[in-house]
Amino acid sequence: MELFLARLFDGLSSGATYAVIAVALVLIYKATTLINFAQGELAMLGSFIAYILAIEQGMPIYLAIVLAMLLSAVLAAGIERVLIRPFDPADHLPLVIITLGLFLVINAIAGMVWGFDPRKFPRMFPEGDVWTYGIARLRWYTVGTTITVLVLLVLLTLLLKKTKIGLAFRAVSSNLESSGLVGVRAGPTLQFGWMLATAVGTLAGALFVADPFRQLDPTWAQRVLIFAAAAAVLGGLDSLWGALAGGLILGFIESMVVGYIDFIPNQMGLATAVVALIVVLLIRPNGLFGSKAVERV
């Protein structure tokens, strides 16, 4: 029981962070029906910006994260305008290639500028445990991350459902051409989607590396991208709350499988995510909460 609780809490803390990056993926997918392979790297870049602002500029960590979210959103606006918008949004291969290129470029720039030495990200949440039961410790970090994710999702839902830009966003994601006919300007709306997604990604990155058990280096996002993408697909790629469910499920699967099944070694957490991804796509291609796709032939 203690062990089970401990695993549950582990799963909760990593699952919540996977969920935030998954939310970022979902936002871009909703807007452009594109999986942004560079999303993880953008989040990594954002976490570095927050680190630099907090440590080298001496800002309080929360201010640093908010500023980093703004800066990365501006960067994303530029990326969208320069690299994404010239391409036909209906043709995926060039866009996939562009995001793969971004993946390499951002990863390399971070490696060149900041090197590969692990760094300690400042704490975002108080040290210590909220509640302990034997070896099972519910850390403040876990609680803080979970609450942040929930608040974020509520805010995003309100933004999409209650505001004008949210309405435009939903119109564009539902039907690009028709929304153009009723006067929604697709370009800026998609740009807004990229900005929102990247800001969310930066928050996710900061949350992820703020775990005292983790460290900040330019490679952390590669592994997380797979988890986040699997979480997004599990939840149904176009469902924000589905991304949360997917992230949590994957977090639990990871900690339970690795924890309980002896012959599966530690490093195989990633493999369980990939297997889960394949199984979900085979059985429920639209994920748990995704809207059903209709393919016109």
Binding site: T33, D91, I97, L104, A108, F263, L270, L281, V297
Partner: protein, 447 residues
């Protein structure tokens, strides 16, 4: 001079010259390159010295086959897969462990590598029947990301060497009957360029062995290209391409879509395995991170640089993905950049930049660009007139069928000419499947 472009009739003497002169030059370059590279020629630009070494050349030749494998799957079959680095890893590690732990000769390991990769590839290809488009890209990227952690597993440490990688001590020694020495002496004796490019002749020890490995790799590469070319130009190949262009249409026309897709996946995986084996031959060392997510994307870079939907592009792609990182690591200083930046992963940066820039300015890759340039000067027309309809509607079937009968399968290296290009415009945007059903926001979802 007559007006450009010159018009040449297909099959005429001039056309044959146009076909075979470039291939002869290419063959000579392939033959001479190792002797040149054995002396590690270098080029100095300001403070930086860029070298061209035989080891890197062998590495590039090995990766050509990897790019070819992914090119078949992405460029011809239209399945956006990023997972071929996984199969390269399987091939490389199988070869390493069989050579080191079981004392097999290098080439004999192919007997295991090719079927194993083919079967794993088919198994991966089975879910790919339902997982399409972006989802497939995602899943296969996951596969690529998993490989390093598989070989790092404790349980496999004895075989894989864990995180440290596995060194293969048994090297390939050049046998006596190969006239490497004679060849080196001959080249060095050439007037004008001889001594400058090839030194004072003689090639021995490590350089001779590396040159021997080079010729083995070139033979394997030529075989791989030849088999792939014949596959693509044959009836199954037309099925493969038909699936890319319109899956439903292909099925309606009697193509066994699931079978063709699965077999293509398997064949592509086998090429990946071969490439991994060749990597082990070239480098003599395999490590987990060589076959990680970066290699998976590098293969896409190679594909895009060479040209999606061409076979010969893989030659260029292999060279680019090996030499761009090597040369960018050799940049010593760059105006306006702190030196410490240049000690970082500059190769990854340039490859990523190349990927983005090419997608913008030369979406068909270098092969397509060269064809465009050639089309400025030479215009090849078919010998018979069919009321001009030929030029508008050259179907894949007609074009390839005609080629096959005229050239009888072609020579081993005859890959370039008019590699199937049934939808010329498609090169602007890459292969078709993604655009085929692109109107709906949720395209790519398996139904």
């Amino acid at each position: 001079m007559s007006k450009l472009p010159i018009t040449i009739t297909e099959g005429s003497r001039n056309h044959l010259l146009l076909r075979y002169i470039p291939w002869t030059i290419f063959g000579l370059v392939v033959l001479v390159a190792p002797f040149w590279a054995a002396h590690t020629p270098s080029l100095s630009i300001s403070d930086s010295t860029f070298t061209f070494s035989l080891g890197n050349l062998n590495h590039a030749v090995a990766f050509m086959v990897g790019v070819l494998g992914i090119g078949l799957l992405v460029g011809f079959n239209g399945q956006i897969s990023l997972g071929n680095s996984f199969f390269m890893g399987v091939g490389g590690y199988l070869t390493a462990t069989l050579v080191v732990d079981n004392d097999w000769p290098y080439l004999a390991t192919l007997v295991v590598v090719l079927p194993v990769c083919f079967i794993i590839g088919m198994l991966v290809g089975l879910p790919a029947l339902r997982i399409k488009g972006l989802y497939l890209a995602l899943t296969t990227l996951g596969l690529a990301a998993v490989f390093p952690s598989i070989v790092r597993m404790e349980q496999l440490r004895d075989r894989t060497g864990g995180a440290n990688g596995k060194r293969i001590d048994s090297r390939l020694d050049a046998p006596d009957w190969v006239p490497l020495e004679t060849m080196a002496d001959f080249l060095s004796g050439l007037p004008l360029v001889g001594e400058w490019a090839f030194g004072d002749g003689g090639i021995g020890g490590r350089a001779a062995n590396a040159a021997w490995v080079y010729f083995l790799l070139v033979a394997l590469t030529a075989a791989a290209f030849w088999v792939t070319r014949n596959l693509v130009y044959s009836r199954p190949g037309r099925s493969i391409i038909a699936i890319r262009d319109n899956e439903t249409g292909a099925a309606v026309n009697g193509v066994n879509v699931p079978m063709t897709k699965t077999l293509t996946f398997g064949f592509s995986a086998a090429l990946g395995g071969l490439s991994g084996t060749m990597y082990a031959m070239a480098i003599g060392f395999v490590a987990p991170d060589v076959f990680g997510i970066n290699l998976a994307i590098f293969l896409i870079v190679g594909l895009v640089v060479g040209g999606v939907g061409t076979l010969s592009g893989a030659v260029i792609g292999g060279i680019v993905i090996v030499f761009v990182p090597v040369w960018s690591a050799q940049i010593d200083s760059m105006p306006g950049l702190p030196d410490r930046f240049l000690r970082g992963p500059t190769g990854i940066f340039f490859l990523g930049l190349l990927l983005i820039v090419l997608t913008f300015f030369l979406p068909g890759g270098i092969v397509f660009g060269m064809r465009k340039i050639r089309a400025r000067f030479v215009h090849v027309v078919p010998p018979r007139e069919v009321g001009g309809i030929d030029e508008v509607l050259v179907s894949a079937g007609d074009a390839t069928g005609g080629k096959m009968s005229r050239h009888g399968g072609g020579s081993a290296l005859d890959l370039d000419e008019d590699v199937i290009d049934p939808d010329g415009t498609d090169h602007e945007t890459g292969p078709g499947p993604v655009s085929a059903s692109a109107q709906q926001p949720n395209q790519g979802e398996p139904t």
